[in-house]
């Protein structure tokens, strides 16, 4: 047992920090909450790509760095700590590249991986539909074979980053007669194909983050099928472990925490800093404790992956824990700010650029996306605790 990062890992972390500090110094962007999923900045993504920080864990033969999952967690932890605008490459780097490495043909690897490595694939995840949320396998979007093509018809929804995406990872039904889990396949194609329409959804913060995506007889070449036809659902389950396992499930609103601590030190009430008040000290310390516990959960997931095991319950545990923490953080932040907490970004008198307001509203979705906390607990009950289903 050893909780230490190696010297090389410490150096790597420092390297990431130095890079991000320099970016901040140059005023290239401002730290913000949810920047991993809402901060679309193609230039930033290019600079990250040039560093070789996309595809860190992929095998070298595919252009990756062959580094460990703990290394990648270090990288993403720092990106989140700084609230860096990494949304353009996040999905592709986190799960799509890995899926192609795992399930793709040689031709797909040759064609698609370099695109991701260069930071040019802004990927949307086309899974959920109006009637297929948690129960993804009940999806209705159809992919019908027609010569060298699949014809896609249907609708996806809640597609994060849909207004920026140039590629989509889509799950669609390829065999309507098979049991519902066994007739689904995965596709990866460009959204410039005729018949793809994106419609914005305004989210609870007032921003545009997720979207509806409509497919009207979209002709997708067969080479865009990823993995085995009709085995898509099982492939997705595996990919979801990666989607759920990351530091973004604990530190999506970390910039708020830092700003809040700073605020309580600098803000005086009755001549004394807020941070002197016992109740506020206690609240902030409790958040710190919960954050550190979450961090251990996250690193455990990476350590499990580095052992070569799928984190098939650890990632569910860390995500359910982490998103609940993020929600408490956002809620506590407004409480600590008191009346100021209700001010929205851009308002006169708003503290901390309105991060608390944004984060509080935005965090409501954290425990839904990538598997709701209830669904994750179902997984834990069955996979970890082996409780009976009936």
């Amino acid at each position: 047992m050893d909780f230490k990062f190696s010297e090389e890992q410490e150096k790597f972390r420092q390297g990431v920090r130095d890079f991000l500090e320099e970016e901040l110094r140059q005023g290239l962007w401002e730290p913000s909450c949810d920047a991993w999923i809402m901060g679309h900045d193609p230039e930033f993504t290019k600079r990250v790509a040039e560093k070789g920080w996309i595809g860190l864990t992929w095998p070298k033969e595919h252009g990756g760095q062959g580094r460990s999952f703990v290394d990648r967690l270090i990288l993403t932890e720092e990106m989140l700590r700084y609230g860096a605008p990494a949304a353009c490459h996040w999905f592709a780097d986190r799960q799509i590249g890995g899926a192609i490495v795992h399930y793709g043909t040689d031709e797909q690897k040759k064609e698609l991986l370099p695109l991701i490595l260069r930071g040019e694939a802004y990927v949307g995840l086309g899974m959920s539909e109006p009637d297929a949320g948690s129960d993804l396998a009940s999806l209705k979007t159809r992919a019908t074979e027609d010569g060298d093509y699949f014809i896609i018809d249907g609708q996806k929804t809640w597609t994060s980053g849909g207004s920026h995406m140039n590629w989509i990872y889509l799950v669609a039904r390829t065999d309507p007669d098979a049991p519902k889990h066994r007739g689904i396949s995965e596709f990866f194609f460009e959204t410039s194909l005729p018949g793809v329409t994106v419609q914005h959804i305004v989210d609870i913060t007032g921003g545009v983050h997720f979207n509806e995506v409509f497919f009207d007889s979209v002709r997708v070449p067969k080479k865009c099928l990823i993995g085995e036809k009709n085995r898509g659902f099982y492939q997705v389950l595996n990919q979801l472990d990666y989607e759920r396992s990351g530091m973004e499930r604990l530190m999506a609103n970390y910039p708020l925490f830092e700003a809040l601590i700073q605020y309580t030190k600098e803000t005086k009430r009755n001549g004394k800093p807020l941070s002197d008040e016992p109740i506020i000290r206690s609240k902030l310390a409790q958040l710190k404790i919960e954050l550190e516990i979450g961090r251990l959960h996250m690193y455990r997931v990476a350590a499990v992956m580095d052992e070569g095991r799928a984190p098939n319950w650890e990632s569910s545990m860390s995500k359910a824990y982490g998103t609940a923490f993020e929600q408490r953080l956002a809620s506590s932040a407004i409480e600590i700010l008191g009346l100021y907490g209700q001010l929205s970004p851009g308002s006169k008198w708003v503290p901390m650029r309105g991060m608390a307001y944004h984060s509080y509203l935005s965090s409501k979705g954290y425990s839904l996306q990538a598997g709701s906390s209830e669904v994750l607990k179902n997984i834990l009950a069955l996979r970890k605790l082996e409780l009976p289903t009936q």
Partner: protein, 377 residues
């Protein structure tokens, strides 16, 4: 980063588990709890023979030269078994303190006695304010030629009634109030002028009131430096807090295992209650708390073991463990239904110990303030 136990640690864990399961079924735990000494001299000797008392002492003091992390593994199993008796007092509070702060002569004199199971030690720290801060120390030790004369009352001293030696923290500078002016003494527990009253506690452990009335202690029995005792007291509290967390990990892991097993077996409405989603989610919440406690506890134990500064990590571990244990035990009871609130059911041993452990060596409020300071607040 590697978060699994070594092969040797796994072996120690298994050996400890087997031994403790065999020697301490709950019928025996109950008997011992109800007995006057509160421990089994026979098992005590056996544990000494297994090398448990001297586990982390160097070989030259008759120890096994293992690490604090190894000890953590053992303590977890002790918590899982609800081991009654003075292991914690003797080894964690007494032995490790002498190992850390003792002179060469003191180490040579006392550590082999602990390792062999010959001597029971304890720590007389807290007083009527029931706080772990230096201002709470009012017991006085007045210099008198080659001795110090102790007067005062200590409270919540574990196993004092059976101890051979006590480490007593007393005020040696009468004018002082804070950390400076406190000194640790190694006191022969059978010295004239010492009287004990065993208190009745929730965990049925033997916490005592100890009254010192003109107790004479030779000057050479100072442990560490005169008036500078508080530095070491802080280290004692730190080690004890982590050690307590280790026991708590064992305690709630066992409560979780028992509860999940019960949920699989117990049928109502013609199906195992563990098939009801609400019960499943309760179990998952318990497991998440257990794992968080385990991870933070082992992180702190590892840091102590490596000699790294870990004020923050210890505070996080104990603050978290204290409250997590309460959540876990509450759900364990809820899922067990009425059978769990009977005295003949094993669950109550864990409930009682978990509550006592929460307040011992610092509760969450205490450590949240430590964390706040570490955060620069």
């Amino acid at each position: 980063m590697d978060l699994v136990l070594s092969e040797e640690q796994e072996m120690l864990k298994k050996m400890a588990h087997d031994f403790l399961t065999d020697k301490f079924p709950k019928t025996v735990v109950k008997e011992i709890e109800e007995s006057e000494p509160g421990y089994s001299p026979e098992s005590w000797r056996e544990m000494a023979e297994l090398g448990w008392m001297g586990l982390v002492f160097p070989e030259k003091y008759a120890g096994a030269d293992m690490s604090f992390l190894d000890l953590a593994v053992l303590l977890e199993e002790m918590g899982r078994a609800c081991l009654p008796g003075p292991y914690f007092s003797t080894v964690i509070l007494g032995g490790l303190t002498i190992l850390d702060a003792g002179s060469e002569e003191q180490k040579q004199e006392y550590l082999p006695k602990i390792a062999s199971g010959e001597a029971i030690f304890t720590l007389a720290l807290t007083e009527s304010s029931a706080r772990y801060d230096a201002a709470a120390i009012e017991t006085k030790a007045a210099a008198d030629n080659n001795a110090f004369i102790l007067n005062g009352t200590k409270l919540f001293v574990p196993d004092a009634h059976i101890a051979d030696y006590m480490l007593v923290i007393a005020r040696t500078d009468e004018k002082s109030k804070g950390e400076y002016g406190t000194t640790i003494f190694i006191v022969d527990a059978k010295s004239p002028g010492i009287s004990y009253t065993v208190l009745k506690t929730i965990a049925n452990d033997k916490l005592c009131e100890v009254v010192f009335d003109q107790v004479s202690v030779p000057k050479e029995n100072i442990l560490g430096q005169l008036n500078q005792g508080w530095n070491e007291v802080q280290k004692i509290i730190q080690r004890a807090a982590v050690a307590k967390c280790c026991e708590m990990v064992g305690c709630i892991q066992q409560a979780l295992d028992m509860t999940v097993d019960y949920a699989k077996e117990r049928k109502q409405y013609d199906r195992p209650i563990g098939s009801f989603q609400v019960i499943q989610h309760y179990c998952v919440d318990m497991a998440t708390d257990v794992d968080g406690t385990r991870l933070s506890t082992y992180q702190a134990a590892w840091m102590l073991s490596e000699g790294l500064p870990c004020t923050k990590e210890v505070a996080i571990a104990k603050a978290w463990a204290g409250e997590a244990c309460q959540r876990v035990m509450a759900l364990a009871h809820q899922i067990h239904g009425a059978i769990g609130v009977t005295i003949d059911h094993d669950l109550q041993y864990y409930t009682r110990r978990a509550k006592a452990a929460e307040v011992t060596f610092g509760d969450a409020n205490f450590y949240r303030e430590v964390v706040a300071q570490e955060m620069g607040l």
